[in-house]
Symmetry: C2
Subunit: 212 residues, 2 copies
DNA sequence: ACCTGAACACCGTTCAAGT
DNA sequence: ACCTGAACACCGTTCAAGT
């Protein structure tokens, strides 16, 4: 077991990432990945037991691109750095990033990515038994926002919203009708992300201060 | 165009949902769906232009199972009802629910599901131009939490966490090491969801009161 | 330790044809 | 309007074989 060429494995994962970003996750077949690195598809099974396992490793590959925060910075800056780094990775790999939310991650890379968050929350004064819960809140917001953004769930720059709204019975959509054109205003996604983040940090500070 | 048997369409979507829940999303092939409703796979293309479009409709099918809140209830209760209804749907369809976060939803059902949230936020006193942003925060939390729960991202009841932690260099995971056994405590997911929800509602109330 | 070729049981989708 | 059968170009994966 185990004595397999690690560099080659990284090379394969990078190829998979490249293919997914160029043609979408559906284009990322074992055959396509193999061709990209100059191998038969069957050769990949020497590095990954199945395509499913390859996808697990791909989660780790994406997580590696979220740089760990500077440990000398104050805890709010460390939280912000993790959050912004994760969102930046989502923008860099918009077609692949959603795997982070879809797969039950049990990789070393996942634990390694969480550790700085635990550290920052403890430094904020959060009681130990509540650190994991706050980390879940924080990462759920960050990943949920980032995935919604790149998957288009938030609407693609609100194009076409108006038309779609109007082809529905207005009596069925009273709130949309009351809001009207306000819904077509452009959105500053950076600002919205930062505002949510700031609120979370403020809540963490408050809970931390209460027990300091 | 358009004059197609709607009941049959619903029947097909229910069959698709059934198959995905029994065997996972990967088992939901056009062939399997066809067989489940007693049709050739090709017959499905009379109802959906492609499997991708069928998946879009499936999002609507799942959203239909989130009951609209009682419009006579106070706005916080309406928000809570929507959130709990969505999470309940996630628990009912754990293997299918993640499609809600992965697909750019442009269906009437999606707009219909959002309308009660817009209404509640306006009744809370949120300025009109900030209603959509608050709705995104709220639904991101609800969907993100629910998807993380059913996809296993939060850890499967924390089983095996300890072992996984220990096979990593403890010097690389200082925060995990400091927290130690606290990380193995059981989690009350209902309570954690409700706590996050309560915080959101409190924040909404605060912003609404500031401009009332 | 690493890779290949042929083969198996599947996919989504098109197209011509049937009622 | 609705459905079928045959066919095309793909899948992931196994297995025996090669170096």
């Amino acid at each position: 077991m185990g004595k397999i060429n690690q560099e080659r494995r990284e090379e394969i994962l990078s190829a998979a990432l490249r293919i997914a970003e160029n043609g979408g996750l559906a284009a990322m077949s074992m055959r396509a990945i193999g061709a990209e690195v100059g191998l038969t598809p069957m050769a990949l099974y020497g590095y990954f037991a199945s395509k499913d396992e390859l996808l697990d490793w791909l989660v780790g590959r994406v997580l590696q691109e979220v740089p760990p925060p500077d440990p000398r910075a104050h805890w709010p800056e460390r939280l912000l750095a993790c959050a912004r780094g994760a969102r930046a990775a989502a923008h860099r790999y918009p077609r692949t990033f959603s795997v982070l939310l879809n797969r039950p991650v049990v990789l070393p890379e996942a634990i390694r990515a969480v550790d700085p968050l635990y550290g920052a929350l403890m430094d904020a004064g959060i009681p130990h038994e509540r650190v994991a819960g706050w980390e879940r809140m924080f990462s759920t917001f960050v990943l949920g926002f980032a995935v919604s953004e790149v998957s288009g769930r938030f609407g693609e720059g609100n194009l076409g919203t108006r038309e779609r709204r109007e082809c529905l019975d207005p009596g069925e959509l009273p709130a949309h009708h009351r809001l009207g054109e306000v819904l077509d205003l452009p959105v500053d996604w950076d600002a919205e992300f930062e505002e949510g983040l700031a609120r979370l940090v403020a809540m963490i500070e408050e809970e931390g201060a209460g027990t300091a």
